[in-house]
């Protein structure tokens, strides 16, 4: 105590990193619960293994760098693990989940100097590394329980354990099911494939049996945590209410996607999907409320955050509409992460008392 320079203020509001990270985990609880409802033990195993391996990797890294191990418990590594799990397809095997967590902690965070120093969102960078390394596994979407039953029962632990530890092929071999019988395309993927064949969006969605309500509630194919817009919105509103995040990034991000989608959908409805479709599809809401708002890799100032959000929105919609990948949200966030130092530099708030002549002139009686 005596060695610490005791400079004012001598009072503190009580916020801590641990508490902030915990709040975000709480906000992800609805999404995690829905993922377990949809994908049963598969989701549970994924979440637990990602979180545990992220914690273990963090501990090893800190040990190697001779840093205090106590910061393992600051909840940041656990949160990274949880984030990663929620962005993975349900049938991801255990080793891929563990590898992803190691990537997230080592390449996403510790190589930059640890907490607070990373340029990119650790979970998203790991997710992209996995997508590029294992493109097939990362785009094979197991049907959720709502669509799957009675083909296989994901609430049966032994079935899920087989998929998780031995791989989907092992299950298929024993149950004489084809992969097509238990998997489906994601709405975004389906629309993209059909678009390359020249099928208009509306027809493609009709053939897919797409429903906005299902998409909103989460009864569709996708990464385990991204399907339910409802659950994610509940978490997002909780974060806003708790003041863990501000409205700037999610509103600017989602608003930009909606605006672009609306304009182009009006102009060419056969080619471009509707704003509602974009809103509920893929990882937009997850990215807008949870990934893009990651404090470390997003701008500090309100104005910068709005610019950042708009950038994410433009990139997400562009990649979805014109890119090779069906989903662009995570690429968009990572690309905008690179621009953060620049945004922080150019979008500083006007300091109180500077450039006030015009301000005061208007208010003088």
């Amino acid at each position: 105590m005596s060695l610490i320079m005791l400079s004012s203020p001598h009072a503190h509001g009580g916020d801590s990193i641990r508490m902030m990270m915990f709040t975000v985990m709480l906000a992800l609880l609805p999404a995690a619960a829905v993922s377990i409802y949809l994908f049963g033990w598969l989701a549970f195993l994924l979440i637990v293994s990602c979180m545990l391996s992220a914690l273990a990797t963090e501990a090893v890294c800190l040990k190697m760098m001779n840093r205090p191990l106590s910061t393992v418990l600051d909840n940041s590594a656990a949160l990274t693990g949880l984030f990663l799990a929620l962005t993975l397809p349900a049938a991801t095997p255990w080793w891929m989940a563990v590898l992803g967590s190691v990537f997230a902690i080592v390449l996403g965070k510790q190589v930059y100097g640890g907490l607070g120093h990373n340029i990119f969102n650790p979970a998203l960078s790991a997710r992209v590394i996995l997508l590029i390394s294992f493109p097939l596994s990362m785009t094979t979407w197991i049907m959720p329980m709502s669509a799957m039953a009675p083909a296989i029962d994901l609430y049966d632990f032994s079935i899920c354990a087989t998929i998780f530890f031995a791989g989907t092929d092992a299950l298929l071999a024993t149950s004489q099911l084809s992969l097509d019988a238990i998997s489906m395309a994601s709405p975004l993927g389906h629309v993209k494939t059909e678009a390359t064949l020249g099928v208009p969006v509306a027809e493609a969605l009709k053939a897919y049996d797409y429903s906005y309500l299902d998409a909103f509630l989460g009864f569709e194919a996708g990464s385990i945590g991204e399907t339910s817009a409802l659950a994610l919105l509940i978490g997002g509103i909780f974060l806003l209410a708790r003041h863990s995040i501000t409205w700037h990034i999610p509103f600017a991000y989602i608003g930009t996607v909606l605006l672009l989608a609306a304009i182009f959908n009006q102009a060419a409805p056969d080619q471009f999907a509707s704003p509602m479709f974009h809103l509920f599809a893929g990882g937009l809401i997850l990215c807008a409320f949870f990934m893009a708002t990651d404090p470390v890799s997003s701008p500090v100032t309100p104005m910068g955050q709005i610019v950042f959000g708009i950038g994410c929105g433009v990139l997400t919609w562009s990649i979805r509409s014109f890119g090779g990948y069906p989903e662009g949200a995570m690429f968009a966030v990572l690309l905008m992460n690179c621009a953060v130092p620049l945004i922080d530099h150019y979008f500083r708030p006007r300091v109180f008392g500077h450039h006030v002549d015009e301000q005061n002139a208007g208010k003088k009686q």
Binding site: M1, H10, A11, H12, G13, L115, T246, P295, T301
Partner: protein, 525 residues
């Protein structure tokens, strides 16, 4: 979210103005209901030579001298300074350095007065009861002579603000009764108990600056003070242009420039004073002291001090003679043992932590706190890395980006820190208060400001040395040239004049010595 709602409300005209940022700390106004008590006179009073912003005073008395209450015992040196007065009658027993309210435990030459118990007043200053017919410049001199300095804690010499300048006519006089620091209640109690006196002071200020409109600003956590001021205002004659305004409580609303913005919607430009936009702002305690100086002819010898803190048994508001040891105030309120207790001079947000309670009450002592180790620990735990959450920029009332600023200061990138307007930081501590990583941001800013100031001094000194050296070289060259010219002349006439040589020599050495002699004292400064 609240920030967004606030902006919305402002845009819709529901809320006139409100400074940006700010926090809502726990206010701990433990002594809000305790009436002001007089503590009497301590046996020995210690009066430091600097109790204001500006240069220190020099003593006018010597050991053994008898002094009276209100007698000037130290005179101000320089413009930005006010004199010090004896706060009771007695004898000067010693003049030596004594610890003052500074975290380093630094000392200051101080005059020690042994009280004789009679408390006889020096009545040489005439009461100016008819001040309405007194020239403002006379009143201004009275404010200076009586040692008035801002009692809100900044102790800026009061007389400097109380001036009529044709270029900057004062439209509004603001009475600052915000008292936004947690724990402190001295202004609050003064408003409740001495509302009429404060209004007299305000009328004097308005007369001095030639303004007819005024605002008494009070936060909504002091409803009784607002009521008392309003009541006094209703009964007072000739105060029609004055109104009481109750503002929603938010720290640091009491900061001058923030308060002016909240009330008028106008920003004081950086580097300028409120008077430049037609506003002056005075603390309620200072205003009461001005009234006493003018109407009673009484110099500043006492003030109200809030003695509080979570480790103090009986928090109170005390009327204290300047120079009274803080330890005796704590003892009076039931605290003798200071082990595991941190003593703060001022409030918890901007006050200084003291190494011991053996320092005297000075003009800036708005309060003194005894905080438990627990209360301090939460504010001073080991810092974690910045996670760039941006909470610091949200709460910064100056709209700075504290986390980037702290990074620049920490890594000695002072040019960048200045580019990010380090010197606009008012050190209110809101950023440190909300930081989830417990980064002592304000501490880094103080370090940065100190280093930059030091750098500027060194640069100015180097520049002066360079100019001196260049001047010398130039002069020598000129003399050399003159000598050469003379020599060639001599050679031309073929008639050597031996007297010329020594004469130039003495001239050279004389001019050579003078700048060297003047350089010495400059080096010291």
């Amino acid at each position: 979210m609240p920030a967004m709602l606030r902006t919305l409300a402002r845009k819709m005209g529901l809320m006139a103005h409100s400074f940006s940022g700010g926090i809502h700390p726990d206010m701990h106004k433990l002594s809000a209901a305790s009436a002001i008590e007089d503590v009497g006179i301590s046996p020995v009073l210690i009066l430091p030579m600097k109790q204001h912003i500006g240069s220190p005073c020099s003593p006018l008395v010597s050991v053994g001298d008898k002094v009276l209450r209100g007698q000037k015992i130290a005179k101000s040196e320089g413009y930005l300074s006010v004199p010090v007065h004896a706060s009771t009658s007695g004898r000067v027993v010693k003049i030596e350095e004594h610890a003052i309210a500074h975290p380093s435990g630094m000392g200051m030459p101080s005059i020690f007065i042994e009280a004789d118990g009679d408390d006889l007043a020096d009545e040489s200053l005439e009461p100016l009861t008819d001040w309405r017919n007194v020239d403002p410049t006379v009143l201004r001199e009275r404010a200076r002579m009586c040692g008035l300095a801002g009692l809100g804690g900044a102790v800026f010499p009061t007389f400097i603000k109380l001036v009529q300048d044709k270029r900057f006519p004062i439209e509004t006089v603001i009475l600052n009764g915000i008292e936004c620091e947690p724990y402190l209640t001295n202004d609050h109690r003064l408003m409740v108990e001495k509302a009429s006196d404060i209004l007299d002071g305000m009328a004097i200020i308005m007369h001095m600056v030639g303004s007819s409109s005024g605002i008494i600003a009070i936060e909504d956590n002091k409803a009784d003070a607002a009521e008392a001021m309003q009541e006094a205002l209703d009964t007072k004659e000739g105060m029609d242009g004055v109104q009481v305004k109750v503002l929603p409580t938010r720290y640091p609303q009491g900061s001058e420039k923030q308060l002016i913005y909240s009330l008028t919607g106008r920003e004081v430009p950086a580097g300028k004073l409120p008077m430049h936009i037609g506003v002056i702002c005075q603390n309620v305690g200072t205003t009461k002291a001005l009234r006493d100086a003018v109407m009673l002819g009484r110099p500043l010898t006492e003030r109200i001090v809030t003695v509080s803190g979570d480790a103090l048994p009986n928090p109170a508001n005390l009327r204290v003679r300047l120079g009274t040891p803080i330890r005796s105030l704590f003892a009076r309120q039931g605290l003798e043992d200071f082990s595991n207790i941190q003593v703060i001079h001022g409030g918890p947000m901007m006050g200084e932590r003291l190494r011991h309670p053996d320092i005297p009450v000075v003009k800036s002592t708005s309060g003194t706190l005894a905080l438990s180790q627990n209360a301090m620990q939460s504010a001073h735990t080991v810092e974690s890395p910045c996670i760039r959450c941006g909470h610091c920029s949200e709460v910064c009332p100056a709209s700075l980006v504290p986390n980037l600023l702290a990074d620049f200061c920490r890594s000695d990138q002072f040019d960048k820190a200045e580019d990010y307007k380090l010197f606009d930081c008012i050190e209110c501590g809101s950023c440190s208060y909300v930081c989830p990583s417990n980064i002592p941001l304000v501490h880094y800013f103080r370090y940065g400001k100190g280093q930059i100031a030091l750098g500027r001094r060194e640069q100015a000194f180097a520049e002066a040395s360079r100019q001196r050296s260049e001047g010398r070289d130039e002069r020598l060259a000129q003399e050399e040239a003159a000598k050469a010219a003379r020599r060639s002349k001599v050679r031309k006439t073929h008639a050597p004049k031996p007297a010329a040589e020594p004469e130039t020599n003495t001239l050279t050495s004389a001019t050579d010595n003078t700048p060297a002699a003047t350089a010495k004292p400059e080096e010291k400064s």
